[in-house]
Amino acid sequence: MMSLTNSEPFGVTDLRLVFPKEKDLFFKDLTFQYHQGEKILFLGPSGCGKSTLLQVLSGLIPNSIEIPIKTRESRIPKRCGIIFQDPETQFCMPYADEEIAFVLENQQVAQDDMEDMIDQYLTAVGLKLHHRHQLISTLSGGMKQRLAVASVLALKPDILFLDEPTALLDPKGTEDLWKTVQTVSKDKTLIIVEHKIDHVIDYVDRIVLFNFNGQIIADGPKEMIFNQYRSELRQYGIWYPGIWEETFPDGEILKLPQEFLTEPCLILKDFKAYRGKQVKFEVSQFQINKGEWVAIVGENGAGKSTFIEGIMDLIKTKGDRVWKVKNEKNDVSFVFQNPEYQFVTDSVEEEMAFGLVIRGVKEEEIQLKVNEALRLFNLDHVRHLHPFQLSIGQKRRLSVASSIIHKPSIILLDEPTFGQDARNTFSLLRQFERMREEGTTLIMVTHEEEIVHRFATREIMIHNGQIKSDERTKRVVQLEGVNT
């Protein structure tokens, strides 16, 4: 491969790494090298070690994260900037300017120069704040990530490492972040770990593909990888362009007759939901029908979560809210965005059983149902683990499975596929579709347009705390001859 400079390549030769308390080597004699100016994307299944390698290449391991490693040779760049996944935990100061100043202070920049430099970095990442002294907590996730970019730019890095920086961002935030990265990294080296590759793919030139065991199975120009390793990409759950069409070709999902969906299960009248003392969602007349798959869409902060939390009576509300079900407690279920918050027991098995135990179901029946659900959601092999020990995908599946084990007829889900890889997302969607076929009503907040177009029967757009549009999707059709 041509390098832009004649300097020696960075990287590691024969890397061996072992996690504490694990018997086996995580990396065994892994060699990876790169030259200055390259734009590289690491792809692979969750947990394959992409992020770990990135931390080794940036020197975080073993300098900041103490994990024993051994290499025959290693060249770690001196000036590198790292962007992490979670926007909440990259900052140590309350205000935006202070965070960048923190980096400048570390480098002993003279105080008089700081303000100008802060403004310069904020402009570079396209953050238009009212004032540089703005509380970080008032920024959206995408803006926080761009602030993170601004603060690592202050390190004057030659190399930028990005560790799934958009995993917790909505589509708008994702797009903005990649635009920013493109403009600031023109003459820099980039190493990116990412699952959603729509936006990065045009920008990188080299792809490194890992398998489940942390080995590099392919390394080369992106065209080569896409042509020769398509089935691996799919198997590893990577969001490559066109994957939706490949997995769910048009016509595979059932069309539904319009008449099917008219019997109400929830009626709202003059309904208001509050955050603190402010009305954050308002609707005068609203109805959800049995068997619908309702997708609730809208920008961040538009009031989507307020809406469904209001329906669930988890926040203060006013007005009428009528469930047309036998028993509200048993028939309506809610799945939170972060699965960890709703785990109430110490093992996967107990977690699954919990909803049945508190409803007084008989022991033998519980056993039967739990076993069935564990199999169905592919959690059988981890049944004795603590829920917190599971992978992201497993946690999500457990949170959904344990919320529906008592067969509620209505399920509300707050961004159930958020941060999931393609494989997990598709397996969840298949479960949801199966539940819908059995007559369950699904009400789901989502950012993913493909889910709305391919699966939902109804799309509700929320804007500024109100329903802006409410339409049947193309899944629901007027069947010829039914009305006559």
Binding site: S58, L60, N63, S64, I65, G81, I82, F84, D86, E88, T89, Q90, F91, C92, M93, P94, Y95, D97, E98, A101, F102, V103, L104, E105, N106, Q107, Q108, V109, A110, Q111, D112, M114, E115, H133, I136, S137, S151, V152, L155, E309, M312, L314, K329, S333, F334, F336, N338, E340, Y341, Q342, F343, V344, F354, G355, I358, R359, F388, S403
Partner: protein, 268 residues
Amino acid sequence: MNSYLNPNQKWLARVNPTLKFLTIAAIFMIYLFVHNFNVMLVSSFAFFIFYLFCNGFSRKLSFWLVTMTFILSVFSASAMVFFGKGTHMLFEWHFMTISIESMTRGLHLGLRTFVYGMLGLIFASTTEPVPFFYSCMQQLRIPPKYAYSFLAAFRLIPIMIEEYRIIRAAMKVRGMSEEKGLLAFYRRVKRYAIILLAQAIRRAQRIAVAMEAKQFSMVKKRTYYYKIGFSRYDLIFTTLILFIIIGAWIFSSYVPLTPYNNVLERSY
């Protein structure tokens, strides 16, 4: 000079935070050794006035905090008032004995609590964490690793409060909050603790790594975004404090409001 942009416009917010902290700590010590009830009475009134004019809270919050402090003071007074020893009996009923001695000592304790409360509120309402820790690093030479750890921890507080709200909702949805009894209560507390701690530990670790990635630990010397120095407000503040303390002494030696000049003495 790069001054700290403070949303809080009270002049006390401009006093050097270290100076404010040390002065208030010193007053705490001084008033431990004040046994003159008259001095205490005048001082607590003076500090209350000082608080009313200089605190940085909103009116409503201020009202509730003062009420809380008052209630706390009444509690701390009552133990001594009702059950303290003394020879000049005012009231007796079973275990309850109120004597002049216990009465004055109790009230004295209550007033001390009140003064401490007022001073604490003054400090809390007019001091932002960022300038306080910058000042600690610059005036007291506190190592940056401690100062920034505290600042990073401050960021976690609102996140944890929001997290608590979500967990409470999640427990409600899962049916956890319906179980009654001591065992269920224990299980709930355990649940909250596990989730909140697990998240907090993970966050703390991530923040620490992110800070090191920004080359925090590699440097011994550093520059400062905010230079926290001294100003005329520091002079005003210390003068005012000295005025209150000395003024209270002089006033009560010329105009003793009560006959109790030493609450530790037994007879009057």
